[in-house]
């Protein structure tokens, strides 16, 4: 579904991503783990085609979408991302959730039903007319997820999607992520919650200092870390 091949990203003289290659297929969940500042968000932004890589290529559904703006635009319409600190539009919750549908020209009765169903899925039924700016951090995060899912993307990118949520809501969201996989979506999620990565992911990518230091199944990464660096990170965080 999405592939990054030899991606480098730079800010000034600093290398944020160094030769990162990953691939995620339909119905797969890839968790990106790593310390703060390791380049997880940058990698998600490159995959979401918000940022251009300084080197390397990005392929969506086997099509090179590294440069061609038209290809990038149509690929972007087939994916959705939830940011770590979701930005709400200064509108009602309903208008926030329906944004992606509206710009795609979806209308009619299906429109309202889809918005309502998306809000129900994230446990926010009845929030339609609330001002989005009046929501708590956790509620905003759930609205952002509903806003992403309502467009029925083929690729879902999540940046710490459950970081601001209480355990019960986080569980609901994890259920939605599993449901998305069952529907055949490809999911790439950056997370600090290593237990969550273990529970949900089919593959785990470990980024340290912008380098992909290990890529494998959760079992491989957590049970057989490839290096001291990875071992130190995964063990310290799961409390071994």
């Amino acid at each position: 579904m999405i592939e990054a091949r030899g991606v480098w990203a730079r800010r000034g003289r600093a290398d944020i991503l160094k030769d990162v290659s990953i691939e995620v297929g339909k119905g797969e969940i890839l968790a990106i783990i790593g310390p703060t500042g390791s380049g997880k968000t940058t990698l998600l932004r490159v995959l979401n085609l918000l940022d251009h890589p300084d080197e390397g290529r990005v392929f969506f559904d086997r099509v090179d979408v590294t440069e061609d703006e038209r290809a990038r635009f149509s690929a972007r319409r087939r994916m959705a991302m939830v940011f770590q600190k979701p930005s709400m539009f200064n509108l009602t919750v309903e208008k926030n959730v329906s944004y992606g549908l509206k710009i795609r020209g979806v209308s009619g009765s299906a429109f309202r039903d889809r918005v309502r169903a998306a809000l129900r899925d994230v446990g926010l039924s009845g929030y339609e007319k609330r001002r989005a700016f009046s929501l708590s951090g956790g509620e905003a995060q759930r609205v952002a997820l509903a806003r992403a899912l309502v467009t029925e993307p083929e690729l879902l990118l999540l940046d710490e999607a459950t970081a601001n949520l209480d355990p019960r809501t986080a569980e609901t969201i994890e259920g939605l992520i599993r449901g998305a996989r069952e529907k055949g979506l490809a999911v790439v999620m950056a997370t600090h919650d290593l237990d969550q990565a273990r529970r949900l992911a089919d593959g785990v990518a470990v980024l340290v200092g912008g380098e992909l230091v290990q890529l494998g199944s959760p079992e491989e990464v957590f049970e057989r870390p490839k290096s001291e660096e990875v071992a130190h990170f995964v063990r310290a965080r799961v409390g071994w």
Binding site: L50, R76, F83, S87, G100, I103
Partner: protein
Amino acid sequence: MRAVELILALDPTVVEITARSLAIAVTSTAIATILVVPLGGLIHFHNFKGKRAVVNLIQTLYSLPTVTVGLVVFLLLARSGPLGSYGLLFTPGGMVIGQTILIAPIMTGLTIAALSGVGPAVRDTAVSLGASKFQAIFTIMREARAAMLAAILLGFGRALSEVGVAMMIGGNIRGYTRVLTTAIALETSRGDIEFSMALGIILVSISLIVNLLVNRVQGNWWA
């Protein structure tokens, strides 16, 4: 107090001057809005060489003295000037041109500031959700709507309360180009203080309403 009586009794001269003031200021503000919102957007959304200098120049023009604008527009509209053949000097149309030029910089500058106030996260969110370039621009403008409306109201306030352009381009002709500010200046010099005060009360009341509206649209009612 005769000033209050003149207002309460809806004195025909007071009403006529007030209506003309509002009509000219509203027209100037409407024309300026049509010009500056796209211009402000164009400057904000495009990166070009000298952009900082252009923004600095616009900000410098915020405090453009009204008499300077009056003088320049006078020279443009005077019979021997480049637009002299249109016969706009000492007409409401000429006043509209002058006021539009006067308020355009502050409205453009505040439009740019309003758009800059919308963080990059809004653009990223819109684009990430599949917005085209134009849809993203529209979304950012919609997010800046309160600050942009405040810019328009401030432009209207400046147009209504200025006296230089109204006097020099309008000529303060009774029943034709006389507006609140020029009438106050004239009646005060003639010694009809009560009449001036009546017009002054109206002018301040309109300014107060505009300010309350600015606060309202910015979401801090009475604050």
